[in-house]
Structure formats: structure tokens, C-alpha cells
Amino acid sequence: MSEIRFCDVGKRFGDVEVIRGLDLGIEEGEFMVLVGPSGCAKSTTLRMMAGLESISSGDLFIGGRRANDLMPAERNFSMVFQSYALFPNMSVRENLSFGLKLRRTDAATVAGEVARVTEMLGLGNLLDRRPRQLSGGQAQRVALGRAMIRKPDAFLFDEPLSNLDAELRVQMRGEISEMQRKLAATTVYVTHDQVEAMTMGDRIAVMDKGRIKQVGVPTELYERPANTFVAGFIGSPRMNLMPAADLLGDAGPTVDPACRRAGTLGMRPEHVLVGHEAGTVGIGQARVIRMENLGHEMHLHLRNARGRAITARVGSETCGGIAPGVTVPLAFRPEHLHAFDRTTGERLP
């Protein structure tokens, strides 16, 4: 298994600089998720690890060895693509054994490994099928099998679940996590889906415009986002972010002076309280614009006296009497406020 380390890595496509000063370390056996919006260069970062994209500046180390100029084959990584990338002219069996045969593995070992992976992923009755005869989930399993079969030093996943329906995505998410746990393999997983990132990764690197905005364990990213970008990106519904005066309203004097001085304040939707309780601070009235009922909880889309949109997440059972058009009092607990610098957007201590 391999440790992977980017040191001040940059990537240019012609005159366009897509990655600048990338510093990231992925420990041996770690499940690292790269998450960010479309176009943030997370896939380019993964492709640089795989050797499919050149590195314009800086260094990439794999297992302590400088790997900038290593061919993909020399890195001993496996990669699973969003499009599955199965070889269309080969059967499932041939797809699975492709890498082993390239390494001139003897036929008995190949057959044994194919049987092992087939059993692990439940591909037994699909071995003689061609990729076009497989469903999305089956194709993704074959792609996983092809990645697993030759015991690589690291697994690279490039948005592997994006083409699957919601139910299958949840199932495959579990299977990939399970596989990673069993094999204890270094894994780098690219996704734009923050739910995947939060549920799968040991650590998450949030990227935006070719730069890493924060690296940390999921709870750290959720509870202490380092900047407004991470605060807005991680969490669904997204964190309420707005100028301090607009969020606090008349409650300004009752909160910590540091928060009042902060340019931007953030509050998670589940921390927006409808109604006053002991120990909470009222932030005025807000009108209910829209309600989304998810069964176990309700998302209230509100507008406060300053015209700012606020989202609150409340239990369905606590919504009696609330309806679109109704005005409700809002409150919060001071410890749930997140304060960010007005100009840099960085978290204030």
C-alpha cells in the first residue's frame, strides 16, 4: 500500500492554470475523498495521481518516491471511472483478467482470482456477458472487480456512482466502503456529492477552483468549517450564511462581540430554532415562504425582516400550526454560530 503526497503541485492546460500550489498528503490505508463543485479540478488531481495527466510544476510522491514521470503502469494503482470504462469488445471475464494477463500471471492464478472477485461481488452469472449486456449497477461492479483483482497499491475512484440511480448509489456506497475496510487499501475517491464524501471518507479534502479549501475528518468539516466556501458546500440544506447584522437583527447586543464584529455569520439549518426556549437568543420574526416535508423532518424556507432567506430544519412533529405565509419567531443557541472574516471568508476563532 502507498502513501501519496502532493507538494506544491500545479497544473496548466495551455495558458489556463487549473491547479495552483496543491499540497495534500494521503496516508497509507486511508480513505481520502476529494469533493468540490464541477470544474474545481478534483478529477484532474486524481488523473495526475494515476499518471494520466502530466504535472506542470511541483512534485508528486508515491510511497516516498518521486512519481512525476512514472508511467501509469509503473504506479500500480487501479482506477474506477464514472463511465465504468469497461472494454466493450471483451466479456466480463476478459475485463476482469485484463490486468493480470498483462502481467503474464499464470492461467491457474488468473482463474482463481477471477473466481475470488466474482464471488465477492456476485458476478458469477455474468462472466460471459459483454459490457453492453449489463445494467449500470452490474457494470459498476465489474469495474470494481477489475480494480480489485490485481491488489493494487491504491484505488482511485472518479465519481464512480454518478451514473447510478439513488437506491443503487446508496447500496454501492456501502459496498465500496466495505471493500476498502476489508482491503485496508489507500483509496482516493472523487465526488461532487457531499453526502458520499461525508459517509465514506476517513478524511475529506474540499476543493474549489483548483485549490484545497480544507482537509479534515467529516465531523470537523461539518462542525468547524474553515471558511465560507466549506461552510456552504458541506451540509444539506446548506448553512445559512449572511452579514452579521442581517442574521442577528435586534439580537445583536446579546451575542458575543466577536460575532457581531464578524463580517459573515453562519448557522446550520438544524440550529435555527422556531420559537423561544431557555438559553436561546431570539433573532426576530420570519415569514414561512415554502415547506418541504421529508417525512421525518421538515425544511422551512423563511424570509426574515431584513429580506434574507433562511432555511430551518425541524422535526415534522414540531410543525403544528406552521404553514406558508405564517410568521414565526426564530432563535438560536450562541454556541452554534459560525463567524467568518468579512473579506477573506476565513473562520474566526
Binding site: 482506477m79 471511472f81 470504462a85 472494454f87 466493450p88 469488445n89
Partner: protein
């Protein structure tokens, strides 16, 4: 009720396609029918028009000249198609690998396609002229003896093939380059990560994905070269002797020099059967490939 609607729909569809069917019948089926009918006569483009049954066919099949012409046509088509497809595909693979802009290179390779067959034939005739041509001059600089090219039986056919290759390789090149550029990148990247080298990627990943396109290109070039006329007519007119006589020039001579329209038509019928057989067998090959995938 649905079946009634379907019946009504079917009848409507027939009325809608009837004009097209009529146009097709007039423009395609009539000439074919007429040609077939004439092949059973001794029509001389004048008043002589007698039904002769299978006589034209019997004469042709017993005629050594006809078989020579058929053999020449097949030799020309096989050689030209083989070299054009191999060379065009090779050039496409090489250009596809280049990491620079290839617009000018592509335009240069495609340039001969813009020239008409007769102009190509005339240009080559001047260049291959045994006394004035630049090709013999260049061969002389290399210490190689002059060649008669179109003037000698041994070199006439290779010369005609070479001219067709120069003319039509660009077609194969541009189609195969488009195919290569249109291949999905992910399976190729996946093979690269799995450890495959460039040769393995080409042979085991790219070529199977291009198989269908390649067979189509072979079908197009095979049919086109079997129907060759302008290149041969503009360079050797089928000579010397019968060395480069192909079906089209043979039919031209039979029809316009000897006024044997019936025999010319019979030749075309037999030749059409040959083209049909070639097209069907190549198509079968393509279907078998697709079924295999």
C-alpha cells in the same frame, strides 16, 4: 380498437411512401430493368434489336478476354483497397498521436481527394512519362534505371494502382482519423492504468472499437475500386494489350467502339453480381463482428 388504428396507420404509411417508391422505381429500377432486358438482345445502338436469349452471357463466359478483364479488375481493386486502407489507417494512427495542431497536415493528406480522376490520370501520365517525366528523372538521380511505367505490361498495373493509392488514401485517412478521435477515452485510460502499453492499447482496445468503421471503409473502397474507370481510361486506356483493361473500360470499348450494347449490358449484369457478392460478404463479416461484441 388498437389493431384497427394500427391497420389505418399502416395504410396511411403506404400512401405517404408511395411517391418515394414511384420516384425510386423510375430512377433506379427502370435503368436496371432496361439494362437487364438489353443484355438479352443484340442491340447495336441502331435498328438491330433481336432477342438472343443467354447468348451474350454464354459468349462472355467462354471469352478469355472477359476473364482477363475480370481478373485485372479484381487485382486492381484488391491491391488498391489493401494499400489504401493500410496506408490511410497507418497515417491516421500516426497523426492521431501527434500532440500538435494537425490541420495543415490533414489538409495536405486530403488534398488529392479534391482533384478529379481524369486530372489525376493526366498529371500522373506526365509525371510517369518515360522520357519527360520527373519520376524517371528522380530514379536516375538515385542510380535506378528508367521505367516504362504505363508503357510496359509488367509495370502498367502497379503504376495505375499507385496513382489510385495517391488519389484515394486521404479518404481512408480522414474517416479513420475521425473514428480514432471519436473513441471514448475512458477505456483507453483504464487500459493504461491497468498496465497496457501503446501497442496493446491499439491492438486490444482501439482496433476492436474501430472494427465496424474499418469494415465500412473497406466496403466503400472495394466497391469504388471495382468500378474504376477514369484512372485507367486517362492513363493506359486498358493497355498495353489487355494489361490494365478493367470491366468499365472493357464495357466502354464494347459499347462505343464495337456497338455491342447487348454484350456490354451482359458484362455489367455479371459485374454487378460480383459487386453484390463482395458487398454482402463484407457486410456479413461486419455483422459477425458486431455479434461477437
Amino acid at each position: 380498437m388498437p389493431s384497427a388504428a394500427r391497420r389505418f396507420g399502416d395504410a396511411s404509411a403506404c400512401w405517404f411512401i408511395l411517391p418515394c417508391l414511384l420516384a425510386l422505381a423510375v430512377t433506379s429500377l427502370y435503368p436496371v430493368g432496361f439494362g437487364l432486358a438489353v443484355s438479352f438482345t443484340n442491340w447495336n445502338w441502331g435498328s438491330q434489336l433481336d432477342y438472343v436469349g443467354m447468348a451474350n452471357y454464354a459468349d462472355l463466359l467462354a471469352d478469355v478476354e472477359f476473364w482477363t478483364v475480370m481478373r485485372n479488375t479484381i487485382v486492381f481493386a484488391s491491391a488498391a483497397t489493401g494499400v489504401e486502407v493500410a496506408l490511410g489507417f497507418y497515417l491516421a494512427v500516426q497523426v492521431d498521436k501527434l500532440a500538435i495542431r494537425t490541420d495543415l497536415l490533414r489538409a495536405l493528406i486530403m488534398l488529392p481527394l479534391m482533384v478529379s480522376g481524369i486530372v489525376v490520370a493526366l498529371m500522373s501520365k506526365v509525371m510517369f512519362d518515360p522520357f519527360l517525366g520527373i519520376v524517371n528523372h528522380l530514379l536516375g538521380l538515385l542510380g535506378l534505371g528508367p521505367s516504362a511505367f504505363y508503357g510496359a505490361a509488367a509495370t502498367a498495373m502497379p503504376s495505375v494502382v499507385a496513382v489510385d493509392v495517391w488519389w484515394q488514401t486521404g479518404f481512408v485517412f480522414i474517416i479513420m482519423l475521425a473514428g480514432l478521435r471519436g473513441l471514448p477515452i475512458d477505456p483507453i485510460d483504464a487500459a493504461r492504468v491497468e498496465g497496457a502499453g501503446e501497442f496493446t492499447i491499439f491492438w486490444r482496445i482501439k482496433l476492436p472499437m474501430l472494427r465496424s468503421l474499418l469494415v465500412t471503409v473497406v466496403i466503400i473502397r472495394a466497391i469504388d475500386t471495382l468500378k474504376v474507370f477514369d484512372i485507367v481510361f486517362g492513363t493506359t486506356v486498358g493497355g498495353p494489350g489487355l494489361a490494365t483493361e478493367v470491366v468499365q473500360t472493357f464495357v466502354y470499348r464494347t459499347a462505343y467502339s464495337y456497338q455491342q450494347i447487348g454484350k456490354a449490358m451482359a458484362t455489367m449484369v455479371l459485374f454487378s453480381l460480383l459487386i453484390l457478392a463482395v458487398a454482402l460478404s463484407l457486410q456479413m463479416l461486419q455483422r459477425r463482428g458486431e455479434a461477437g461484441r
